[in-house]
Amino acid sequence: MTSVTDVSPVRPAFRLTRAFQGLERLVVPALLIAGWEAFARSGMLPPALLPAPSAVLHALGDWVFGFDETTQTYSGHWLRDALASALRVFGGFALASLLGILAGVAIGWSRLFEKTLEPTLQMLRPIPPVSWIPLAIIWFGIADKPAIFLVFLGAFFPVLMNSIHGVKTVDHNLVRAGAMMGANGRQMLTDIVLPAALPSIFAGLRIAVGSAWMLTVTAEMVAVKSGLGYVLWDSYYFLRYDIVLAAMISIGLLGYLSDLGLKAIMARTLRWQQTTTVQGRAR
């Protein structure tokens, strides 16, 4: 008599592919880091100009945990620096989201706001946020405020543009259906147009959070004396490229985590949107 396991044997090759599947996304980073380490150790460039990944990791470790003061005054101060940057990102991003969504929905929904507000905003949009730095410094001094102002400028326009787009492209028939069911003007906005525009608004928020990190770091290099960007720029003056790279990695990691957080909120809010991949698999 055959047992059940004889009927459906698990082939080893199959198990191997399964195990590999979890690791596939690590292949490219692992190869890059190994190549970099090999190149740095080959001595073609002085280690001060291109520190090996191991050296960068060492610097990052000391910066975070402060075990041997490789990073001197920064040793053990990572959390404080990261928090300083994150708060600026959060402040500017929150302000930009609030005003961007409000202005975007108003412009997308009302002809009056479109005519009065949009031309001015569209004229301000092409001005690079960085070019506001001189003004930001004389207006707000050297502290958190100019950084938050720059973050706001960088994050506001993606939110604004996507909110306008989201509201303008709401299915005309949904609005008709709402009117048919007796929605008044306010209900049309809160119960139909806003939920329908949410996917587009979230797309804007995700672009904005990336810009927010970029501009925090830029501002910290020029106008603020704390945060990851300041550490990066300060280390550059002392030719500590291991710390420069450690700071870059920290920024990349925190930016990635902010996007993951936003994606999680988006997945919860837009649960009704069944996302389908190109292959047609629902995820």
Binding site: N173, A179, M181, G182, A183, L270, W272
Partner: protein, 258 residues
Amino acid sequence: MAAIELRNIVKVFSDKRRGRDLLTLDNINLDIEANDFVCLLGPSGCGKSTLLNIIAGFEQATSGRTLVDGKQVERPGSDRGVVFQQPTLMPWLTAIDNVAFHLKLKGVAKTERHDHAMEFIDLVGLRGFEHHHPSEMSGGMNQRVGIARALLMNPSVILMDEPFAALDAQTKLEMQEELVAIWQKRRCTIVFVTHSVDEALVLGNKIVVMTRRPGRIREAVNFDLPRPRDITSPEFNDAKRHILALIREESTRLAQAS
């Protein structure tokens, strides 16, 4: 007093890019009695959807009067339930919340509106799917939600714009039967736009044949074949022959005119 009175409805669309006007509806006069099942039958582009949109209040007639229950139509409203060609449900709401949307807009509490909506979910045979989102249901099921949503408002008329056009043949037949059953059970007035002679004959007890652009009413045919209708019966075929002749006459006239 008829449920719907259309008086000298004219609709002209101005084509600004080409600088000319397009006469879409040319002097439509029609009375629809309460509890009638009226099918507006005509080729695409004859303005039958435009006429429906005018009754719904989505569009304004260039001239003429539209009265529903004796009241002039000025804007869309819940006294006229509309079932669209595409289901047009709120994709972020579940089936039951879509059906109950009208009650939500009126500020009815959640449990109460769900209780009420469940009755209509049952009526269209969707029990068990009330917590599904539109993206998780088939086109036919979504269209059932659309019908339930219109019925829940208890409107004086239900306006349907080719609601089964996008469905496969078998689902279409099922839906037609169910719609007739619902109409018989709930005694409502339905105006149903279609380009299919068979569909009009299966559903309607009054078939309004419209001409190609500019849309005019060619003839309003009363059709009281008992239900369920046998689409192979001589009476059905007689009526079909008559309506097809009206349509053919029309295309011959057009061919001669050109």
